[in-house]
Symmetry: C3
Subunit: 355 residues, 3 copies
C-alpha cells in the first residue's frame, strides 16, 4: 500500500459508481476519450461555449456527452454536477493553463494525479530545485552577462507561448541585446531534442521499480516550433534578425522519434530519481510525465523542462509507439491512464492516484 | 440522394460486375492496391513499358494483373479493354500529371471522383478563387516589387518540379533578383508546414456533416524537399546563393506529423467551407484531398495549395494514422477509397462518386 | 540450395536443440528480443558488467536470461557456454564495434549472417570498390584540393563518432581549412537523406528475386545527428565556425520517413546489384542491410555508406513500417530475423544463413 493523495471525502462521489473519465476538449482529449472507451469507461467532455464539432469526425474518440460552461473561468461551478456524474478529471497541459493553477488546485472534484505537483512545475525556481536535486543536468543559468562563456538564450520574464527570446552564439553577440524589461540568461545547449513520455504507477511493483511502484516509457516525440524550425530557409539567423525577423518557439505539432538504445539506461535513471525526489518533496508525482531535453554531441541529456501530466506529443501514438509496443500492443498514454484508474478501482486503491 | 457526377452510360461497364480497382503504377499505388485487396477487390496496375518489378517485394500490395501500354500517351487506347474489365480508375497526383489533364478528363472509363475538379486545381488563378471564396487564408500575391513589405518567394512562370525560385527576406533583398523571364511574387510565410489528408464522402451523413455528406481527417504529413531541407548544413542561405547554390523544393519523401489538437477545429472549418464551395462551383469534390499550408507563430493556417486526390504523404499510414485510428483501426486512405466504392456499389450510388 | 556460409562444425551446437536468439544488450536489442519471442524463441542478453535495468520496463522485450562478462573484451571467453546454450548470435552495429571486428570474426559461436562481410564493410576502400562495382553512385573522392569543383566535406582519418569534419561550400571556402592531420576530401551531396532497411533472404526464391534468393524492403528512417541538425537555430554556419562552434554528426536517434514511390524501382535495382556483387566477392551478404544515401534535387540517390546488419533506425518500426505492412502485418526487422532462423531450422538450411 502506497501513499494516499486524497482523503475519503474527495473520493466519496465515486463510491459504488462507474466513473466517467472527463477532460477538457483540447490538447490530448481525443486520445484520452479513445483510451477510456477502450477500457470500458463512460466519457465526458468539458467545453467552454459550444462543444467543438470536430469530434463528429472521430467516432472512436467522441465523448459520450458534453458538459459546457459559458467560459473557462466558470468551470469551478460545475463541480457538484461532475461529482454527481462520478467524474474523474484527467488533466492535461492546456487544462491547467486555461482554468488557472489556483482554481484547478482548489476544484472540488476527483482529479487523476497529485495536484501538489502543479506548484512545483509552474514555478521555474522550484522546478529547477526539484530536478537538479534529483541529479538531472540542466542548462546553466547566468546571473550576469559577463559570466557568459558560450551560446545563450535570453528570455524575458513572463514571455508566453514561445515568444520574446534572443539567441547569442557567444558573449560578444550578446552586445546586440538591448533589453526592454527583466530577463534571464540561460545556456543554449546544442544538440537534438527529445521529449520522453514516461509513466509512473504506484500501483504495480513489477517492472522497473521506483519507490513502491514502477516506471514505464510509453513514447518519444520532438516538437514542431514556429517559426524557428523552418526559419533557416529564408536566410541566415543573423541577417534575419537584422531585418527584424525574430525567432519564435511556438509549438504547432509533433513528430515521432526514437532515441539511441544505449542512451535509455541513463534516461531511465534520471527519470527514476526525479520520481523518487517527488515522493520526498510532495508525496509523489503519479501517472504520465514528460522529460524534455537536448542530447548533446557528448551524448549527455540536458533537461530543460518537465511536464507533469500527459503531453500533446503522445497524440502521435494512438495505436502504440516503438516503446509502448514492448509493454502491450496498441497502448497509448490515454489508454494507460484509463487502465490505471481501472486497476485502482478494482483493488480499492483510488486514494493513491486521485487527489 | 446527392449529386450525380456521371451519366448511366459512364457506369454501364460496371453493371452486374465486380469492379477492378485500377491505378497507374506509381505515387501511392502500393497503398491503393493494398487497400483495395483488404476490401475484397480485384486490382489492375497500369504501366508504360514493363511493369515495375518492385511489387514482387510487396506481396500484400501487388496488383492482380498489369495492363501495359508502350508509353503514357497511349493510355487512352486501352479504354475499351479497361471497361471490359470493369475497371474503376483511382487517380493520384502523378496519374493526371503523366497522362495529361486533357487526356485524363476525356478518358472514356469510370474514374473515382469528380473529374471537373481537375481544371479548378490545375489553374492557379481558379484554385485561388475557389479557396479564398471559401474563406481560406492564402499567401498574398504582389503585383509589383514595390508593394513588398515582408519576406517573399519569387517563382518563374512554368517553373516545374520545385525549381526556379528566389527567396528574399525583404524588399531590399529583392534587389538581387534579376529576372530572366516572367514571374510572380508571393508572400513567404514563416512557420511549420502541415499537409492535412482529408476525405469527403457524399455517401454518409453521419459524422462531421458537410453538404449532404461528411468530412473525415485520415492523416497528416510534412514533405521532404531537396535541397532546401538540409541546405543550411552547408552554409548560410545568402552565402550559398552567392556561391551559385540555389534552393530547390523537389519533393523526395514524407515524414509523419500531428497538429496541436486546439488547431483542429479551425482546420475542419476551412476544409468544410472548401468542400461546400466546390459543390457550388462544380458539383463537388469527392474523396481524398489535401490542404497544404503553413502554421504561423500566430497559429494561423495559411493554405498555399490544395491537392484534390490522394497525396503521397498518405503512404506513411498504411496501417492507420494518429487520426484515422479514431475512425477505424488499420485505415489507410487507399483502403478508405475502396470502402467508398464498396458502399456505393452496395447502395446503388456509384453515380455520386464516379465521373 | 544456396551457398553454405559455415561448416557443420560451426553448427554442431545447434543440433537437436531449440536455439536461443542472443545479442548484446544495446543498439536494437529490445527489437531483436521482442521479435524472437514473437516467433517462439528463447532469448539471451549479453552484457558487460550488470545487465541494464531498463529491460524491466519492457516486459515483451526482456531477454529470458542474461550472460554477463566483466568487460566487452571478455566476450570470447563465454563461447563454450553460449554453444552449450545453443545460442545463435544476432549481430548489430554496436556489437561488432564494441567487441572488435577481429575478435567477432574469430568468435567460435554460430553467428547469424555472413561474417566475411565485416572486412568489406569496415574498410572504406573495399566498401567503395564493392558498391561502385555494383553500379551504385557514391559521393566523389578528391585527391587534391585543387580538383574541388563544388561543395565538399573534409574528414580527418580515424575521426570517430561523427566528429572531426570540415564543410566547404566551394574551393575558395576550403582555404579556411588548416589541416592538423591526414584527411580525405569528399563531395558534399546536397539533398535529403534516406536510410533504407533492406533484407536479403537466400531461403526464398519468391518475391523480388536476386541470386538464388529474394530482396525485401522493411522500412526507412532518417538519422538525428547532434549538433548539426539544430545548429542553424543559433546562427549561420560560417559565423558559428568563426566563433569556434564546429558542426558534428553524432547519431542520437531516428525519425521515420517514406520515399517517393517512383524512386523505389531504382532503389531496388541498386540494392539488388549490391547483393549480387556480394555473392561474387565473398559468398553473399544475408539478412538485414541498410543503404544510406542522399536523394538529390535531380532525384538521383547517392549512396554514402552501407551497413551490413540491423541498423538502429529499425527501432522505429516495432509493429511494422509503411513498407513491411505490404509484406506481413506487425513485421519488424528483428522479427524478420527470427522468422529467417525458424525457416532455416525447419528446412535444414542453417548453413546458408549462419557463419
Amino acid at each position: 500500500m502506497g501513499i494516499p493523495l486524497s482523503s475519503n471525502a474527495r473520493l466519496s462521489s465515486l463510491e459504488g459508481r462507474a466513473p466517467a473519465i472527463t477532460t477538457l476538449c483540447s490538447h490530448s482529449s481525443l486520445q484520452i476519450f479513445h483510451g477510456a472507451r477502450k477500457e470500458g469507461f463512460r466519457t465526458i467532455g468539458l467545453a467552454a461555449g459550444t462543444p467543438p464539432r470536430f469530434y463528429d469526425a472521430f467516432p472512436l474518440a467522441r465523448p459520450d456527452r458534453f458538459v459546457t460552461v459559458p467560459k473557462m473561468a466558470d468551470l469551478p461551478s460545475v463541480a457538484d454536477h461532475l461529482r454527481s456524474e462520478a467524474a474523474v478529471i484527467v488533466p492535461h497541459g492546456s487544462f491547467v493553463e486555461y482554468m488557472g493553477a489556483d482554481a484547478f488546485s482548489a476544484w472540488d472534484v476527483p482529479v487523476y494525479g497529485n495536484r501538489k505537483v502543479i506548484s512545483w512545475e509552474a514555478d521555474r525556481k522550484k522546478s529547477r530545485e526539484w530536478l537538479e536535486s534529483a541529479g538531472a543536468t540542466m542548462p546553466r543559468r547566468y546571473d550576469h552577462a559577463s559570466e557568459v562563456d558560450g551560446p545563450v538564450i535570453v528570455k524575458y520574464y513572463g514571455a508566453k507561448g514561445g515568444k520574446g527570446f534572443f539567441l547569442a552564439k557567444n558573449r560578444e553577440a550578446l552586445d546586440d541585446f538591448h533589453p526592454t524589461g527583466p530577463y534571464v540568461i540561460q545556456e543554449y545547449v546544442l544538440g537534438t531534442r527529445y521529449y520522453m513520455h514516461f509513466f509512473y504507477t504506484p500501483l504495480s511493483d513489477r517492472g522497473y521499480r521506483v519507490g513502491h511502484g514502477s516506471l514505464e516509457l510509453l513514447g518519444m516525440d520532438r516538437r514542431d516550433e514556429a517559426n524557428i524550425d523552418e526559419l533557416y530557409k529564408l536566410g541566415a539567423h543573423e541577417e534575419l534578425v537584422r531585418a527584424g525577423i525574430r525567432p519564435t518557439f511556438v509549438v504547432t505539432g509533433n513528430v515521432p522519434v526514437v532515441l539511441r538504445e544505449s542512451l535509455l539506461p541513463r534516461a531511465f535513471e534520471v527519470a527514476a530519481h526525479i520520481v523518487e525526489r517527488s515522493i520526498e518533496l510532495f508525496g509523489g508525482m503519479v501517472g504520465p510525465f514528460c522529460l524534455e531535453g537536448i542530447m548533446t554531441e557528448e551524448l549527455e541529456f540536458k533537461v530543460f523542462e518537465i511536464s507533469t501530466r500527459i503531453v500533446a506529443g503522445t497524440n502521435l501514438f494512438i495505436s502504440g509507439s516503438p516503446y509502448s509496443d514492448f509493454v502491450e500492443p496498441n497502448l497509448s498514454t490515454g489508454r494507460r491512464i484509463a487502465q490505471e484508474i481501472r486497476r485502482a478501482l478494482d483493488t480499492g486503491r483510488l486514494a493513491e492516484i486521485i487527489s
